[in-house]
């Protein structure tokens, strides 16, 4: 329920102009480095330099964040609330660094031992895969770990602050959307591989 006595959140006013050049480059450069290294590792022949193509990947990633924010904006609007768009996108971009940390953990997982178990707890079972997800269930739930839960919790907090609703309500919505989108991800992964095996 909406609490009328709550203080207005700074998120609602949107980020000041000077925040953009301070907060945008870091995550974008981090994702660019991630995409570029992945392309250099996996692609044998590219028509352009990996750096140039990696920027296209970063642009696609930024679009995905915008779409994610729009989806939540729609859901909140259906409940009669507005989610501040620009500040939410900017904060979501910062939160994406948690995903980046999870990916980094996945690329430095030892073959066995306690560190491997810890990596699974933090970054989900995908930290131990070689290549693509072995099956649809893994594709759907492979990223579920402490870091993903932390990102969801913080994203819910951002939405609660932006809309003036309780964190629990926002967290329920985030969990529902995450579950739905990852079920779709699992179904699409199964459709893409058909009866082929991945590993």
């Amino acid at each position: 329920m909406h609490d009328p006595d709550r203080r207005p959140s700074p998120l609602a006013a949107g980020p000041p102009w000077w925040a953009w050049p301070l907060l945008l480059p870091g995550p974008l450069l981090a994702w660019h480095a991630c995409v570029e290294s992945e392309m250099e590792r996996s692609a044998s022949a590219l028509p352009f330099a990996p750096s140039a193509i990696a920027w296209i990947g970063v642009a696609g990633f930024a679009c995905a964040l915008v779409v994610e924010t729009l989806v939540y904006g729609m859901l909140w609007a259906a409940r009669g609330r507005r989610l501040p768009f620009a500040s939410s996108v900017l904060v979501l971009l910062q939160l994406s660094m948690i995903d980046r940390v999870a990916l980094a953990i996945g690329s430095h997982v030892p073959e066995a031992g306690a560190a491997r178990a810890l990596a699974c707890v933090l970054a989900g079972s995908r930290a131990t895969w070689v290549g693509a997800a072995p099956d649809g269930v893994s594709a759907a739930l492979g990223s579920l770990g402490v870091l993903t839960l932390a990102r969801m919790a913080l994203w819910a907090w951002v939405q609660a602050e932006g809309t003036g609703r309780r964190w629990r309500e926002a967290a329920s919505m985030v969990a529902l959307v995450w579950a739905g989108s990852h079920v779709v991800q699992g179904l699409v992964a199964e459709l893409a591989r058909g009866r082929s095996v991945v590993s």
Partner: protein, 167 residues
């Protein structure tokens, strides 16, 4: 920037509802397509050379041994890398399975085949789309390991080692 307390207009509410209905319709469509795909009965892969167009005949030793058949699309850079990687492996020509290439998702018969002559299991063109439409396989770069009698021993993913013992 909108204030969180600003009212949502009727038009915005209608647009949002329409978008949500579309999103749920897409979700339902994906679930339906997945369900159709999972409940369809597929053939178990079996190597029958008569179902494919032979573009390059296998070596005479091929009939005596099993074969690795690589699902290969000429436009796929990963397929080329996968074939190069399989050819780099040390193999015992007297005992190891032969390595063949199955051209998949190629509409017209290729004019020329740019595939190494070291591919001793021959090159076949899946003109009838058996690999995708009958077997239900979709990952380029996978290796199908067939026994000497043509029965499928196992499928090996695009990143996995076909020589490794099956798990």
């Amino acid at each position: 920037m909108s204030e969180p307390s600003a009212p949502v207009t009727g038009l915005q509410r209608a647009i949002n509802r329409a978008a949500l209905v579309i999103a749920f319709a897409i979700l339902a469509a994906i679930v339906f397509v997945w369900w159709r795909d999972r409940t369809r009965s597929w053939e178990t892969p079996r190597w029958d050379a008569s179902r494919f167009v032979t573009l390059r005949a296998p070596s005479s030793a091929a009939a005596e041994r099993g074969a690795w058949r690589l699902a290969y699309n000429p436009d796929c850079s990963h397929c080329r890398a996968r074939l190069a990687e399989l050819l780099r492996r040390p193999r015992d020509p007297a005992h190891d399975p032969v390595l063949g290439v199955l051209l998949v998702d190629v509409r017209a018969r290729p004019d020329s085949i740019e595939i190494s002559s070291r591919v001793d299991g021959g090159v076949a063109w899946d003109s009838a789309n058996v690999w995708r439409e009958r077997w239900g396989h979709r990952l380029y770069g996978e290796v199908l390991v067939f026994a000497r009698d043509g029965s499928l021993e196992r499928s090996v993913g695009p990143e996995a080692d076909p020589a490794a013992a099956p798990r």
